[in-house]
Symmetry: C2
């Protein structure tokens, strides 16, 4: 039996146990953005350390930070071999609206070939398939085929600074020949893909104040400032119904795409638009009709309002004009733009468009640059080959609309190829109720990563 067959054999025979371990990890509600879950985030990190030690990593430890902890592990096997740095995040998104989940978000459940639970796909499930591949190498070969470093963070969903600080302050610890990130999704189950770009993100909060206290809408309605109305006016001015964003500097800063890419977006040979409509459950897309939908997700900037707080929005009726209201607004940005510079542009746009009679404060909650990868290197070629062997289909190279700010930092600090090899599917409902991960993708993902690890032996430049 050759090495690949042994690995696949091991992974098939141990599949149920590996899924059980994932279920165990998924029961820990490591919601990084909610302070009351800080203990759970810590527990999820500890769980990962124990798993890495069990696999055989000589070094596996918690790295304390000002925020949630990092997990760092290292297995040096041969200085002649390349070193792969693997990144993932063990924290998860909040779960509201919780009543829309078919099974409780932290009671992971197997149904019809899928595992349901918060973090199943984003990102515990994808870390788990990497851990399974590493375990398979350790058990069938007593070692790893290359030097492996692992860095897991617990603040990805909260835009925390800990991992960024660590990367900036410990470049030597993290020195590697390539970075592997399994936190993205494929086009669909039949069409694997590798990601060549990620959008950047700027997440802000706009607080608007009017009167010094909440007011009665009868006694003051007609003369009182209403910060909720001001936010509606402002947001409608920042983004029109047709999806166009009114931040003047932004329009001229969008990079041009290649003709090949434009053609791909226009022709949509993989029928991605049709799948998007099914996933969203709508007949018609909303957004900039002058650009193809794939370009709108892959390259164009977006501005979204995620929530508005203030006044009274519970059951029943309260006739209040609130003194203050807050909107959460984020932008996705092409990889060439610096989100912190865009923050300045947004600030100007908010200043210009804020109705008269209000004070406002714009906060930069977090900002992460996008990334654009040149696929012409041995690590990405090895990933494409591993995908072809396991999935039976050559992967396509895609732009991804989401953001992994740390990828941009790895790019900047380590200056090595970044392999964005994710096994999620578009229907995984990440960040939404009923998040799930296909068990078939999970199985193929383990095998692909195991195969990839073998393929990059002797790739050291």
């Amino acid at each position: 039996m050759d090495s690949q067959a042994k690995l696949n054999n091991y992974l098939n025979e141990n599949f149920d146990r590996i899924v059980s371990m994932l279920q165990e990890w998924l029961t820990i509600p490591s919601i990084s953005t909610l302070p009351e879950h800080a203990g759970d985030v810590q527990r999820a990190a500890q769980w990962a350390v124990e798993r890495l030690s069990a696999i055989g990593f000589p070094e596996a430890r918690i790295v304390s930070t000002a925020g949630h902890p990092l997990v760092y592990a290292e297995w040096q096997v041969d200085s002649q071999q390349p070193t792969l740095l693997i990144y993932g995040h063990y924290d998860v998104q909040p779960v509201d609206p919780v009543h829309e989940w078919s099974s409780p978000p932290f009671q992971p459940t197997l149904r019809d070939g899928y595992i349901y639970g918060r973090g199943a796909s984003d990102d515990k499930g994808q870390i788990m398939l990497v851990l399974a591949a590493l375990e398979a190498w350790a058990e069938t070969n007593t070692t790893q085929p290359v030097n492996v470093k692992i860095l897991l963070e617990g603040e990805e969903e909260a835009g925390g600074a800990a991992v960024g600080d660590y990367v900036l302050n410990h470049p030597e610890t993290l020195r590697a020949d390539a970075v592997l990130i399994c936190d993205t999704h494929m086009v669909n189950a039949g069409q694997p893909s590798l990601i060549t770009s990620l959008r950047g993100i700027l997440y802000t909060e706009i607080a608007v104040s009017g009167a010094k206290t909440d007011l009665h809408s009868g006694s003051y309605g007609g003369v009182a400032p209403n910060p909720l109305h001001a936010l509606c006016l402002l947001i409608s001015r920042l983004k029109s119904e047709d999806g166009s964003i009114h931040i003047p500097q932004l329009a001229s800063a969008i990079p041009a795409a290649s003709l090949t890419e434009k053609q791909f977006w226009q022709e949509d040979p993989l029928h991605i638009q049709k799948e998007l409509l099914v996933e969203m459950g709508v007949n018609k897309m909303v957004g900039e009709t002058s650009y193809p939908p794939l370009e709108r997700i892959g390259l164009r900037p977006t501005l979204e309002v995620h929530g508005i707080r203030g006044g009274f929005s519970g059951e029943g009726a309260k006739t209040v004009i609130p003194a203050r209201a807050v909107a959460k607004v984020s932008l996705r940005l092409p990889a060439n733009l610096d989100p912190n510079e865009v923050f300045g542009w947004l600030l100007q746009a908010v200043q210009s468009n804020m109705p008269a009679g209000y004070q406002f404060h714009l906060s930069n909650l977090h900002a992460g640059k996008g990334i654009s990868v040149n696929p012409d290197n041995p690590y990405i070629r090895a990933a494409a080959e591993a995908v072809e062997v396991i999935f039976g289909t050559l992967p396509v190279f895609m732009r991804e609309g989401g953001s992994i700010p740390i990828a941009a930092l790895f790019d900047e600090v380590l200056q090595v190829p970044i392999v964005l090899l994710g096994f999620g599917l578009p229907g995984d409902r990440v960040h939404a109720p009923n998040e799930n991960f296909s068990l078939d993708q999970f199985r193929k993902g383990m095998k692909t990563v195991a195969d990839f690890l073998g393929r990059i032996r002797h790739s050291k430049p």
Copy 2:
């Protein structure tokens, strides 16, 4: 000692005890719009029944309804005397944002001549001063000067149907020669006023749906419908920055004001605008600049958004595009308009202005007509005389921006004069944190009502 002196004497001597009783009532959190407080609403009703019995009302009882209970009491003294029906509400508004209260909303506190607590002014405090006046008559004269009927409801702040149903189904029980409502405020402490009109109210909820599930703003941003954005666009189209409301039928339905009133609004001899600015803590008013501020509060319609629910608006960051969002929107309306007819107009306006790609549902949470009173009758004249005697100043006749829907129903069913004699002040912060009531107003209010009761003897037509 004449009757008036005896009454005033009694009220002065018993003032502290009466304030203590109010404090006791204010500790009961009778928030009618929150289901978890249903038991408290019931307790507050029971408290009122016990107080009325203690004063000497031969009949004082709870009236069960499909919603919160009513309190009914009656004291028939002489069929040759007129009958006064007194209305008030013992329920209160919610208290959020609770951290903005200087003392807990249900631990009523005396500070610097004011009593602070939810309901201090709206409306337990104002009912309490009426009860004190009735007690003074009972204690100093062993009876009441006129026949008195009392109807207190527990759903005023929730727009409940119970009191309306009761009025429609029991017109004979409630038959009276005049109605007294103490649930309004004066121009200021030095300028008493009587109310000649109240605006109507229409309180609605607009629910907007986009995709079938919450979506990740990275993977779907650019093509996904965002119901929060749709609500911002819609609300900005329903009401412009200049305060104009875009419901076409509404513009032509606003009644004309008299020349005297227009002049009063324009000249603002009582400097009400200046006081409004101080109360709101702003330099400039927001709203329709082509109308004087007093007309905007007194007669013009308003449209206010009270809250927007959907997505994620807590601490931290969540990059969600919600599947659904809900806005609470109310209109204040001139007395001539039927709010249920206006609901149809609003529905058309929402239909015309809703962005493409969304489903919506508009709900009529509650609707109450306004009222316009002709002040030329013996009961309102008696109220004006009582005010002049106790406050030392003739009251002005004012339009009030708030709504007391039951007043319109009394007008329609009983067809008798409605005396809107309130002792609140504009700074009472009703519906807001730190609601309070001036103890001086409370004292003068008791005496004014006691004097008024004596004055309407022999007024029976």
